[in-house]
């Protein structure tokens, strides 16, 4: 199995602070992976580098079958390559309806001229309705997103991610602020998604990671400290040290 995303030897410092230090990481075509680590381990910076928000000082990020480098690409270009990102706090366009939000995310040409010429088709309307139904917002297509509750916004954002059909999905702390029931639904959704694509979950909550039941990468001080099943890494003395502080 070839890797979908391969991060090799990446480093990044902010004003002398090394947020990422010679980090290497790879994930396959259809795989669920959790990344854990204490605060300041470089989890968010790692996601920023993959999505193009931050440029690394050194190292390379290779993508897909043809191993193109993502390092010099813009955020939008990387997103079009098929990398989706879900932020920690729900970010939907509150001034627009749920249908509009989902339509924005639908997979289609992104250039200004194509967007100008784009007209809703029967198929696109059906897809939007399906997606809305899938995230339990089927009855509220023409409500503004700003009127939704926090949880509903989370779901709308997940719906938008599904609409854009990414090959790699980066999810930042999905469990934060969710009820137990919502967590279970989220876990199920992530596992289902990982059957057809790569999913990377960054998470603090060990309990949630255990539910995901997948391979775990532990970051510490900007580098990979350990990798393997949760039980495997939990037994690692170094991991215990950085997590439990001793």
């Amino acid at each position: 199995m070839t890797a979908l995303l391969e991060v090799s030897g990446v480093s990044k410092s902010f004003d002398g602070f090394r947020a990422i230090n010679d980090l290497s990481f790879a994930i396959g075509q259809a795989e669920l992976r959790a990344i854990i680590g204490p605060n300041g381990a470089g989890k968010t910076t790692f996601m920023d580098i993959v999505t193009g928000k931050t440029r690394p000082d050194s190292g390379d990020v290779l993508w897909g079958e043809r191993s193109v480098s993502l390092v010099r690409m813009s955020e939008a270009r990387i997103a079009r390559e098929g990398i989706g990102r879900k932020f920690q706090r729900p970010t939907v366009f509150e001034d627009q309806t749920i249908a509009e939000n989902l339509t924005l995310a639908l997979r289609s040409a992104r250039g200004p001229l194509s967007v100008l010429r784009w007209r809703p088709s029967r198929a696109s309307r059906a897809r939007v309705a399906d997606l809305a139904a899938e995230v339990n917002l089927g009855g509220a297509l023409h409500r503004k997103a700003g009127e939704l509750s926090h949880g509903q916004k989370q779901w709308l954002e997940i719906g938008m991610l599904l609409a854009s059909e990414p090959r790699l999905l980066l999810v930042d702390e999905p469990a934060a602020g969710m009820t137990l029931a919502e967590r279970e639904a989220t876990t199920a959704l992530l596992r289902r998604l990982a059957e057809t694509r790569a999913v990377v979950v960054v998470e603090h909550d060990m309990d949630f990671v255990r539910r995901l039941n997948c391979k775990v990468t532990v970051l510490h001080q900007g580098a990979v400290l350990a990798e393997g099943s949760l039980d495997h890494v939990s037994a690692n003395p170094q991991v215990i040290e950085v997590y439990l502080g001793r």
């Binding site: 902010f14 004003d15 947020a19 928000k53 931050t54």
Partner: protein, 633 residues
């Protein structure tokens, strides 16, 4: 020693011996002396001077020489008159001669050699003045031969004058170049004036260049130095080629020969075509009605067949080279002095921008708010200064009162603006910008209604007038020095407040993380209000400072607001050093461009703004950006 002896001898013998000669001279030239003309009197004066008639000449120049009834020349005194030759009293009416200024200056020149040896230093100084005023070749010998001057200052002056005259008049080229070299790094205007005539050129044209001429440079027609039209005109003036026909002349000739709707067989209606006009003119020329015109090809051939050059009037290349070298070195040194002067101007401008922008930078840094009314706060400060001045007559006292008064007035205005408008628009920076713009136009119009459109003066106390200078080229007005000091004072004050006081700590906390600061018990609103008041107050002080050298009008703020914005944007937000760097960059840039493109401040400002737009491309967050991960997001 020997020279001294001869001098003594001459003085002793002067009386009787010279008198004889003088008598002859005066008698011979009697008519010319009484009716002098500038053209012919020269040799006469010289002869009189040689014959020892210094006293006569002096009296003549002072309009005390007259003709007695019997035709004798007499010198008039307060009490009466005496014979110019014998000194015997003259009775009767004496008609004084009134030589014109030209003649008088010739007389003065003739008197110089004698005056240079005069025991009275004032006379010697006057003689040197006379030479400096109207130098000529003859005086060079006099300067060299005169006895050594006992007064060192006068001796130095005489030596300098001698060398200046040597540059221009010494027959020996080697002596002239030596004289030029002897000035070294001197940049005196007199030295420059002595050098310039050496480099005077005249433009010549001919089939070949004169062989023995000292050629400054050869010119090629059709270049910027010598446009083809000018080159051809030179040839015409030299009588080498016939004049070319201008379009206007052609038109006039054609108009004059228009007959029956045609000129030279060409219908008038067709004459809008230049080619048909040429044809018509040629036809007229063939009939002999108009002179034949040189064609373009002939003109080009003539230009190619002749050579053009600038030729020095001074024949010796060694002298012109030395003079050119000296002038070039002088220009270089003057350039350096001008650069220093410009740097001073730039620093002064930067300090003004700094004062104007510092308040803006504070409010922008702490609240992310652009206060468009900032310029009007500057204006309010200036008007406060004006009002204080009308109440307190003593300029110094009124300035001392005006500074804190302006601070208080504008700080209060700032606090009011904050509480009424900005606080309610928290976290809506663009709307704040527009709302403060509304305040800005209202304030401007209110000021116009109160104070009128006429500019109000804000006069500086006497001790701030005048200027401080180093040398001829470098100077800066005292007011600007005072503003610079004021700016430095505020920089120091700001640094102390921000880094040493509790308020500064709180302000920095709010700047970095308002939410966290609030949870630590700091009220961000109170801090914001205080900083807004502080920033506005400094604007008021800047207003007083600006008012001291610029006219106070209701539009005063407009002139500084955009530059202040630029300073903040270029410098970077939230750092006083950034504001300082921004002000220095903008002030320096503006002055620098003005020097490259003198007399065109509009162009300077245009280029400066363009530069800033490009600058933002490379440092989008200013010279000193906010740091940390938050800034990278």
């Amino acid at each position: 020693m020997r020279r001294l002896l001869t001098l003594l001898l001459t003085l002793l013998l002067a009386g009787p011996l010279a008198a004889q000669d003088l008598g002859t001279v005066l008698a011979t030239h009697h008519a010319e002396i009484t009716q002098p003309s500038r053209q012919t009197i020269g040799p006469v004066i010289e002869a009189v001077a040689k014959a020892g008639g210094a006293e006569v000449l002096a009296a003549w120049a002072e309009r005390r020489l007259g003709v007695a009834d019997d035709g004798r020349l007499a010198i008039v005194h307060e009490g009466g008159a005496e014979d110019a030759l014998t000194g015997a009293p003259v009775a009767g009416k004496v008609k004084t001669l009134r030589p014109n200024s030209g003649v008088r200056s010739l007389i003065a020149a003739a008197l110089v050699p004698a005056q240079l040896g005069d025991p009275d230093p004032a006379t010697r100084a006057a003689a040197l003045d006379a030479i400096a005023r109207a130098p000529d070749a003859g005086q060079l010998a006099a300067l060299r031969d005169a006895p050594a001057d006992p007064d060192p200052a006068l001796a130095a002056r005489r030596d300098r004058l001698q060398r200046l005259l040597a540059i221009r008049f010494d027959p020996d080229p080697a002596a002239r170049t030596a004289a030029i070299d002897s000035f070294g790094t001197d940049t005196g205007a007199d030295f420059q004036a002595a050098l310039n005539p050496l480099l005077a050129t005249s433009r010549v044209a001919g089939p070949a260049l004169p062989a023995d001429a000292n050629i400054a440079r050869e010119l090629t027609p059709g270049t910027d130095d010598l446009p083809a039209a000018d080159a051809y005109r030179l040839l015409v003036e030299a009588g080498l080629v016939p004049a070319r026909l201008t379009d206007a002349e052609q038109r006039a000739a054609l108009t004059a020969h228009a007959k029956n709707g045609a000129v030279g067989g060409v219908p008038v209606a067709e004459l809008s075509d230049p080619a048909r006009r040429d044809a018509a003119y040629d036809a007229l020329a063939a009939q002999g009605l108009v002179p034949a015109a040189a064609t373009a090809a002939e003109a080009d051939a003539a230009l190619a067949a002749h050579r053009f050059a600038d030729i020095y009037a001074e024949p010796d290349p060694a002298v012109t080279d030395a003079a050119r070298g000296a002038l070039r070195a002088m220009a270089l040194r003057e350039g350096a002095a001008r650069t220093a002067d410009m740097a001073l101007d730039a620093i002064s401008l930067a300090s003004i921008y700094f004062l104007a922008a510092i308040g803006l930078a504070i409010t922008f840094g702490v609240m992310g708010v652009i206060n468009m009314a900032h310029g009007e706060f500057i204006m309010m400060g200036a008007y406060t200064g004006y009002v204080v001045q009308t109440l307190i007559a003593n300029r110094t006292l009124s300035l001392i009162v005006a500074l804190p008064a302006a601070f208080l007035v504008t700080a209060l205005a700032g606090v009011v603006l904050y509480r009424l408008v900005i606080r309610r628009l928290a976290r809506r920076p663009l709307e704040t910008l527009l709302a403060t713009f509304g305040v800005s136009i209202a304030l401007q119009q209110i000021a116009k209604n109160i104070f009128g459109t006429q500019a109000r003066p804000l006069t500086a106390p006497a001790w701030l007038e005048g200027s401080v200078g180093w040398g001829e080229a470098i100077s800066i007005s005292t007011i600007r020095v005072a503003i610079l000091v004021l700016a430095l004072l505020f920089l120091a004050l700001f640094l102390v407040v921000m880094n040493r006081t509790r308020l500064g700590l709180q302000v920095r906390a709010v700047m970095q993380n308002p939410g966290m600061a609030a949870s630590m018990g700091i009220s961000p609103e109170r801090i914001a209000m205080l900083t807004f008041g502080l920033g506005s107050g400094i604007a008021g002080i800047a207003g007083v400072a600006i008012g001291l050298f610029a006219k106070v009008t209701s539009e005063l703020g407009n002139d500084y607001i955009v530059q202040s914005f630029m300073t903040v944007v270029v410098g970077g937000v939230g750092n006083i050093w950034g504001t300082l760097a921004g002000a220095a960059l903008i002030g320096g840039l503006q002055k620098g461009i003005e020097v490259l493109n003198p007399g065109n401040t509009l162009a300077a400002q245009t280029f400066m703004i363009l530069f800033i737009i490009v600058f933002i491309q490379f440092r989008p967050r200013g010279i000193i950006p906010q740091r940390g991960r938050a800034a990278a997001a």
